[in-house]
């Protein structure tokens, strides 16, 4: 059912943990990649090799190890630029995670260090997000609104779990300075259509940012084609290590923005009373960066590219279509989010009537070795919108199989038996 040439069993061999036996003889069924993905041997070995044989600080050490480290770190930037089709490698800023990338952009606004008109913000200005955001695309903007007196507004979400853009023209207006929404919801799986919102943002002269943490790992993302101004994503959800994230931004905007963190390597020259800054991307990379993590992320991009992002997308689409058929067989199961495999990714959140998600997750884990996420998935406002405190979430990736979805369905039937 997957794309020709896509061999999930061969892929699974690259992730030894998937063959691990858990205490009590359970085999692992990992359905929590939306939370964090597993890592293939290729990524682990690249990091180990670098740490063992080539490690030195980057950008400043003149010796062999320093050069090799700098070369590998900057090569990782090239790989990421290629992976998301950035027009220039200098537009790839390494951060700690997607949250830092979002905060970096938020701190550029209303910042007295910056002088660019597009980033001025004060009372009367508006910031637009959506009700389906992860907390990392909500809280930085709340803080920005508090700092500047600007107003935070948001797109509502429909009952089906789609972005409600009916009020687009009123919501995004001449007062809007930035629109920041998720490309793919970490709860609903919904893939948002960017173009109508971007068109309106352009009409009113607002900037637009995408939280692509859940899309870049799962589908081909071309930042040029998207046409937005900023894209944030993270390494650990795309078979890379934790501790490394990425901000892509248009060169001329990154140039116009004030620095975020001050420190080593982000400067050009420093006097006691002032400094000048390094050109982008280094202007935004203060201090020793996560060197080996960046190199690991480069290896992750190579790994995904070798398999093919189109293939991965097709595989996940097949999985989610299968799951959307199979899950409603479970009595009392309600899917929160689109119930058709159209414009949605491989993330399915659901409730079981009368059974708390923590009980669901515990039984799935302890009896069947099935790892899902339970709770509000860092998207509390979205859960409030649907009037539920929490959901159970299964999220799929390139290494998952329909047999694992069958196991999930069996597990949920058992949960019903225990608590029913």
């Amino acid at each position: 059912m997957s794309a020709p040439g896509f061999d999930v069993e061969r892929i699974r061999k690259d992730f030894p943990v998937l063959g691990r036996e858990l205490p009590g003889g359970r085999s692992l069924v990992y359905l929590d990649s939306g939370n964090s993905s597993q890592k293939p041997t290729q990524v682990v070995e690249t990091m180990r090799d670098h740490l063992t044989w080539h490690y030195g600080n980057v950008g400043r050490a003149l010796h062999v190890l320093g050069s090799e480290s700098t070369e590998a770190y900057e090569a990782a930037r090239d790989k990421i630029a290629g992976f998301v089709k950035a027009p220039s490698r200098d537009e790839i800023v390494f951060t700690k995670n997607a949250s830092e990338a979002l905060n970096l952009v938020a701190y550029a606004f209303g910042n007295p260090v910056g002088e660019d008109e597009r980033f001025r913000m004060g009372p009367g200005d508006e910031i637009v997000i959506s009700e389906m955001e992860h907390h990392s695309n909500i809280v930085p903007w709340q803080l920005l609104a508090q700092r500047t007196g600007a107003t935070l507004r948001w797109f509502p979400v429909t009952d089906e779990g789609r972005l409600d853009i009916e009020g687009l023209d009123e919501l995004v207006n001449e007062r809007t300075k930035i629109v920041s929404i998720t490309h793919q919801s970490n709860v609903l799986g919904t893939v948002n259509s960017v173009s109508p919102i971007l068109a309106r943002a352009r009409e009113v002269g607002a900037l637009m940012m995408l939280d692509a943490s859940q899309s870049v790992p799962h589908q081909p993302v071309d930042v040029t084609e998207l046409g937005v101004d900023f894209v944030a994503f993270t390494g650990h959800k795309m078979v890379g290590p934790s501790g490394i994230g990425v901000l892509w931004g248009r060169r001329e905007l990154l140039d116009a923005m004030p620095p975020f963190l001050g420190g080593g390597e982000m400067i050009e020259a420093v006097w006691m009373d002032h400094s000048t800054y390094a050109p982008v991307p280094h202007k935004f990379e203060a201090g020793t960066p996560p060197i080996v993590e960046a190199i690991g992320l480069g290896a992750a991009a190579d790994y995904l590219t070798a398999i093919g992002m189109d293939q991965i997308k097709a595989h996940e689409k097949a999985l989610v279509a299968y799951a959307l058929e199979a899950l409603p067989e479970v009595p009392g199961l309600r899917i929160i989010g689109p119930r058709t495999p159209i414009a949605r990714g491989g993330t399915i959140s659901f409730t079981l009537e009368g059974i708390h998600p923590h009980d669901v997750g515990q039984i799935l884990d302890d009896v069947y070795g099935i790892a899902v996420r339970v709770g509000h998935h860092c998207a509390r406002p979205l859960h409030l919108r649907f009037g539920i405190p929490a959901t159970t979430r299964a999220s799929f990736y390139l290494y998952n199989t329909t047999a694992e979805i069958d196991a999930l369905v069996r597990g949920l039937h058992h949960v019903q038996k225990v608590f029913g």
């Binding site: 205490p23 009590g24 059974i355 708390h356 998600p357 923590h358 009980d359 515990q362 039984i363 884990d365 302890d366 009896v367 339970v374 709770g375 509000h376 405190p389 929490a390 225990v418 608590f419």
Partner: protein, 145 residues
């Protein structure tokens, strides 16, 4: 089958048929406690007689089976006992829950609450079991002024 040992029959019984659920008058103190990591919440009231006898522990809330069953067991154990007695049960229960599965529970003190011993091995769930019990302790302190 680790998990099902946590979900003792007695816990599931209390979860499906909670004892003393619902907020009642009269009461001396009411508290509202939440577990921010999972959204479980409980509102709890206590009514204490002049002699220190706990006349009623009433509660309402939402959450997982562990948190709801723990509230039900608490109601049974505390109602009709004295403040002092019930606090010693709370203390023993807390010791058991925070013992990472290493503590041998005192069944004479704990009664039905001993069924929660398995929960102590699951650090993520200990707060669920303690939610209503901490709320009770808090309510007692407030009722004593």
């Amino acid at each position: 089958m680790i998990g099902e040992s946590m979900y003792q029959e007695l816990i599931l019984e209390h979860y499906k048929h909670p004892q003393g659920r619902g907020l009642r008058d009269p009461y001396d103190a009411e508290v509202h406690h939440v577990n921010p990591t999972c959204g479980d919440e409980v509102t709890l009231r206590v009514k204490v007689a002049d002699g220190g006898k706990v006349l009623d522990v009433s509660y309402d809330g939402q959450g997982c089976s562990i948190s709801q069953a723990a509230a039900s067991v608490l109601h049974e154990l505390a109602t009709g006992s004295t403040v002092e007695e019930s606090l010693s049960v709370v203390e023993e229960f807390t010791r058991l829950m925070q013992g990472r599965g290493q503590v041998e529970p005192d069944e004479d003190v704990l009664g039905d609450a001993v069924a929660f011993a398995g929960v102590a091995k699951f650090p993520a769930r200990v707060k669920c079991a303690l939610l209503a019990w901490m709320a009770y302790k808090d309510a007692l302190m407030r009722s004593q002024g």
